[in-house]
Amino acid sequence: MPDFVSTRRDVLKTGGALLVTFTLAATACSALAQSSARNKTVASDQVDAFLSIDADGQVTVYSGKVDLGTGLRTALTQIAAEELDVPLDQVNLIQGDTALTPDQGPTWGSLSIQNGGMQIRKAAATARKALAEMAAQRLGVSAAGLRIEDGSIKAGDRSISYAELVGGSTFSLKVDKDAPVKDPALYAIAGKSVPRVDIPPKATGHFTYMQDFRVPGMLHGRVVRPLAIGAKLENVDGSSVNDVPGFVKVVREGNFLGVVATTEWGAIQAARKLKATWSKWEGLPERTHLWEHVRATRVNSDEISSNVGNSANALSDAPKRISATYDFAIHTHGSLGPSCAVVEIIEGKITCWSASQAPHRLRNQLAAMMAIPLDNVRCLYIEGSGCYGRNGHEDAAGDAALLSRAVGGRPVRVQWMRADEHGWDPKGPPILVDLRAGLDRAGQVVAWESESFVPEDGLKPVPLVAATLAGLPSATEPPLQYVRAKFQNVFAENSAIPYTLANVKTVAHLLAETLFRPSWIRSPGRLQSTFANECFMDELAASVEADPLEFRLAHLDDARGIELLQRLTTLAKWQNRPSPQKGGGGIAQGRGISYVKYELGRTYVGAVAEVEVDRRTGEISVQRFFVVHDCGQIINPDGVKNQIEGNIIQTVSRTLKEEILFDRSAVTSLHWATYPILTFPEVPDVIIELIDRPNERPWGAGEPAATIVPSAISNAVFDALGVRLRSVPFTPVKVLAAIEGH
């Protein structure tokens, strides 16, 4: 049973560098014990950066993309095993270790298979080609006459294994972009619902999550955050915790405050008892005036995401004009297990274990904060509780680094408490979208304009809380390779629409500031944009009494999109009629559709939501979601379904219930009672149809299905009641207000 977790039990001293081997993963041990591991390259143009084959023929894949609880480990293993023609159990995977794995960028944006997996596929294809050439030479035959099976290359009845060819040494080859990849028609492992390797240990308490990770001599730390976000630490009474058993130290650096103890309970008690006074700070706007505040925030620049024809003229000429404003609340990631990290510092070298989605970025940030050369920082990924974007893990690592430094570099584990997580993880920012459209007499949309108000920060690393509080730097400039060609700002994605119209202009106003540290939570920007666009499309359909699905088809010029919507019509047994439907009763029923082409360039998703709304209480119950999903080539169908189910259910939760509460000083919804999420009795059924296209490139599935949820629900509520919900979350209070105002 692989343990998946690297520890320091066996430390190879090689030229002063620390190399870490693996405890229970015997296979990985042997891979790493090879000389190649000592100076292992992480340069992403090298095959050796991604792959090694040991003397027993065991393949090790090195992935810079990490499994955030999505099943990525299994999928990447399938890709490598398929391309190399070795059985699955002959492939081990090491992920997110800045000393061993290439920097493939953060695990974000639904790119882990699409980009990360394809880099691994190319490296494996290059390796396979090289192995075949070596075998041809050794066997004295032409490469064309060889067969490859189970890690062996065969010519007639003679064969030579990968282990015999390269076992234990390196390939020393550049990844060849033109190396032939396997014909998908021959796939035996990729494209199959291979069971996930991590579920048996997870179901039996044998899996080591980040929160379980321990190193010898480890101390426990807890942070004590300011009572107000911008408050100054005025006074700390260290004597208030002297009698806490196991207490080691109070650590204060600027406004950063924490405690260290020998036991976890000691650290918790000390953090609770520590007496500190903070200055008053009331820099947040009134929550009741949040949207006025957003609208009034200074705009730094505009990003035009689409501009076709002349929308201003077309709009003023249109016989029918409609406008609306949509808003989407501030959300927390709300990982079920709060963030956790362990840091130790030996002879000026930092080792950091965390569940960060971006170990390479974290390494930059820790080096900057601690004023240590980058080469002296190593970050290792250990899977934590589900991660849906840049949450608090990096911050816990920053906290642990400052605490470790204060106790002479001894390893310190920082486990955030629930209030630290809800209160201090970076937030999905508040987003506001204004839309205007014009229709002609035939009911066709002739003009579309939108303006979204989004934070500017885009793709830059989120500053570490510890660095900000302590007044230290934390490397906020994006490393060059992450800057996208298309948009600088992720929050502007999908503000352009997937429909073909004569006159369109969509603009994102990039705001100079936002309330809390903004970050990307499962489909940042695309979620909010798709909510606004797909609800507004429904408004337009309703204004001309058109069937909303047919109305979309009438504006769509995209063969894959059209096929998807047609299949959705069948799957959901869609009845052609306009919304709202007539009918009364205390419990109103409705259906709503939504469609997205992710970033207008990849994964297609279409969905129909069926809801029941209680007119008396304003409660929405989402009964079921029908989803058709096309992400090109599918690596693991059950894995994709699992991601879709998760996207739908999590986003139903966000749509119906979630909203960060705050006063003028800080977040006030600090636990699950004040930030409720969807529970079992409220969960809808999810019926999925996957469109598999083995000969296309694979696209992401980790986020796209989230984007269609709020609009599908809003459109279903309109179908049920004839009222339009334009503000997430759709709480009963808002539903009742909408009914009343109708």
Binding site: G71, K202, D212, S335, P338, C387, E645
Partner: protein, 155 residues
């Protein structure tokens, strides 16, 4: 003053020395005994990830003082089965691939085990009700429900 508390954990008699007898059972299991099944999620009794069976009944170990477990039988996720020999409920979760991150699984499997001990063939609403206080952030609910149904069928 350090206190000793004796209890039975997964069939093994253990004695735990603590400075604070009010310390929740969760920390004794995770830190003193290095168990990984019971998990810290909120420490407030709101999420269910820390559940264990105490004399056969599911309790939240984050709000159960260690002293309350004195001389009682505690069963954790590890006590139900192992990767090689999972319990029927654990096997059903594996068969249904009922996990994304899996952080909530401890609470889900402990609650489901307790439910099935009392209710042989629970309906879907009964399953949902039994798990209503257990949060899952990844949205694995449907698979978890299917896993409980499968475990009931296989029992």
């Amino acid at each position: 003053m350090p206190t000793s508390v004796s209890l039975d954990v997964n069939g093994r008699a253990v004695t735990i020395e603590v400075d604070d007898p009010g310390m929740p059972l969760l920390y004794a299991l995770r830190d003193n005994l290095e168990l990984k099944g019971p998990r810290f999620g909120c420490g407030l009794g709101q999420c269910g990830t820390c559940a264990v069976l105490l004399d056969g009944e599911p309790v939240l170990s984050c709000e159960t003082p260690l002293t309350k477990a004195a001389n009682k039988k505690v069963v954790t996720l590890e006590g139900l089965g192992s990767p090689e020999q999972p319990s029927p409920v654990q096997q059903a979760f594996i068969d249904e691939q009922a996990a994304q991150c899996g952080y909530c699984l401890n609470g889900m499997i402990i609650q489901a085990t307790a439910l099935l001990a009392k209710t042989k063939n629970p309906s879907i609403p009964q399953i949902k009700k039994a798990l209503a206080d257990n949060l899952c952030r990844c949205g694995t609910h449907l698979r978890i429900i299917r896993a409980v149904q499968r475990a009931a069928r296989n029992a």
